[in-house]
């Protein structure tokens, strides 16, 4: 792999370079692999990258039914933060945030990680109390978190509605200065390029349609490009996790829902941070192109359709207009949906499954983009060593029988 650098950019621009290399190969699938990852989203690609990089496991394939990053990785609103309430979540999301901070250098691919602060608004006395509870919990876990007064919040975000005469006036909020946004496509492409350079086969247009077992052990997969043997397999398929689990003969505590987002026409810079409001159900940041990137909550019904219903977007628009009156005349450029894998406790499932040799990573629901590097890191370690990584252990599927749920609805419901 040729490294990207300013010198290479310059040489190619003035015609002295030897051109640009393909970023990753498109190999034919081999008959067998040590590890096969099903799902070429950010999490699957990161898992393959860290398997090769940290554990020297290089006979690895990533199978993707469409194109890499075409699932939720390329559909999300790219909020990255780690200010979750419970210790288990704080540990894994903060591990991920630390990886984000070095990811562009690590991958030699600009993922445009922009740490621009993130403010979660509080609109009631009760929300202020909840915010300070979470900030204290975060600080005990070594996460940068601050509680902000109304004055601080309004000064930092000048376009916020200052009126006290609205249903949800801004009372203050909590902030995480190290949070921010990143370029989602670049994350998939950067991990793909890095993994490919270490020998991983990235195989697109290859859908897994069957699971081959011998006794209680997985031995391979049937795909639309033929049968592939595998010593170990990991399902990293987000919204399609239940479909894959049913091929392997077990059920998951997951339901698939549409999650929608939309962007406005581009305008001059008005917002240099990320703002979230659980009470009015909206969150927003401004892209480098000037579009306001806005997201809402899930559509209530089960769906695999990658589209949702209009009332969700209407509610989002009305919430935006209440929070930021200046956006009322903006046009919406486009809206879209992804299929998110929602777990009852709004926390992921990472680890072993009832089938030997088969691992799973799913349930990130509305908020897994931020976890991409951390999730890949812990899953790779779990697969390589056949036991859960310490950060992954609390997120095993057994928690649904033992009752040790990690309830992050407060931190994750609308906040992504």
């Amino acid at each position: 792999m040729k490294r990207y650098s300013f010198v290479q950019l310059l040489r190619n621009a003035i015609g002295l370079g030897d051109g640009w290399q393909q970023a990753w190969r498109s190999p034919e699938p081999k008959p067998s692999y040590d590890v096969v990852i099903v799902g070429g989203g950010g999490h699957g690609l990161a898992t393959a990258y860290y398997l090769a990089k940290n554990h020297g496991v290089r006979n690895v394939a990533v199978l993707e039914k469409g194109w890499i990053g075409g699932g939720n990785t390329g559909r999300n609103t790219t909020v990255v933060r780690s200010n979750y309430l419970w210790d288990e979540s704080a540990a894994i999301y903060e591990h991920s945030l630390k990886l984000w901070e070095g990811l562009t250098q690590e991958l030699n691919f600009n993922v445009m990680f922009s740490q621009r602060n993130l403010v979660m608004l509080a609109h009631t006395e009760h929300e202020m109390i909840e915010a300070s509870r979470r900030v204290h919990a975060n600080r005990l876990n070594g996460i940068d978190a601050e509680i902000w007064s109304r004055e601080q919040t309004l000064a930092f975000i000048p376009i916020l509605n200052k009126s006290m005469n609205i249903r949800y006036p801004v009372m203050g909020g909590s902030a995480q200065p190290r949070a921010g946004i990143a370029r989602h496509d670049a994350v998939a492409w950067g991990f793909a390029r890095g993994a490919d350079a270490l020998g991983v086969d990235i195989i697109q247009n290859c859908e897994v349609i069957g699971v081959r077992r011998e006794g209680s052990r997985i031995v391979g997969l049937d795909t639309t490009r033929g049968a592939i043997d595998a010593k170990k397999v990991a399902f990293v398929a987000a919204g399609h996790s239940s479909v894959l689990a049913s091929l392997a003969g077990f059920r998951l505590p997951i339901e698939s829902h549409p999650l929608q987002a939309m962007v406005s026409e581009p305008i001059k810079p008005v917002l240099d941070t990320v703002v979230m409001s659980g009470a009015v159900h909206a969150y927003v940041s401004q892209s480098d192109k000037g579009e306001l990137v806005m997201g809402a909550g899930i559509d209530a019904f089960n769906s695999y359709a990658q589209r949702g219903s209009l009332p969700i977007l209407e509610d989002l628009a009305s919430a935006m207009v209440e929070l930021f009156p200046i956006v009322s005349r903006l046009k919406i450029l486009r809206s879209w949906g992804g299929i998110v894998d929602v777990c009852p406790d709004a926390s992921p499932i990472i680890g072993r499954t009832p089938v030997d040799g088969l691992f799973i990573n799913c349930g990130w629901g509305t908020g897994g983009f931020k976890a991409t590097p951390g999730s890949g890191w812990v899953l790779a370690d779990t697969i390589a060593n056949d036991r859960p990584h310490a950060l992954a252990a609390p997120f095993s599927m057994e928690r649904f029988a033992s009752g040790r749920l990690i309830d992050e609805h407060g931190a994750a419901a609308v906040a992504h």
Partner: protein
């Protein structure tokens, strides 16, 4: 956007309804004896099929009654609705 035919009131827009998730799973019979796994199964495990889905809806802004819908989770097409206690209609092939 779904147009849902309430069996009591007729077709109404989705926003008049509240979704109740997968239908027809039962609470463990002998709850004192039921294992943790049986409870987990009842409380959390779901079929979540990519295809036809039997589900519960409530007409919250209308008759306020629960009923069942057979809906496809990719096309969102509704093939039938039925009342609590009605025999289960077949899933379309």
């Amino acid at each position: 956007m779904l147009l849902i035919p309430c069996p009591y009131c007729g077709e109404r827009t989705e926003s008049e309804f509240r979704y109740g998730g997968e239908a027809h799973f039962r609470r463990p019979e002998n709850h004192l004896e039921a294992t943790d796994e049986a409870w987990a199964d009842y409380l959390f495990m779901r079929k979540n099929p990519k295809g036809w889905h039997r589900e519960r809806w409530m007409h919250i802004a209308g008759c306020k009654r629960w009923f069942y819908v057979v809906r496809h989770t990719v096309t969102h097409r509704i093939s039938s609705v039925y009342k609590v206690g009605d025999p289960l209609p077949d899933l379309p092939s």
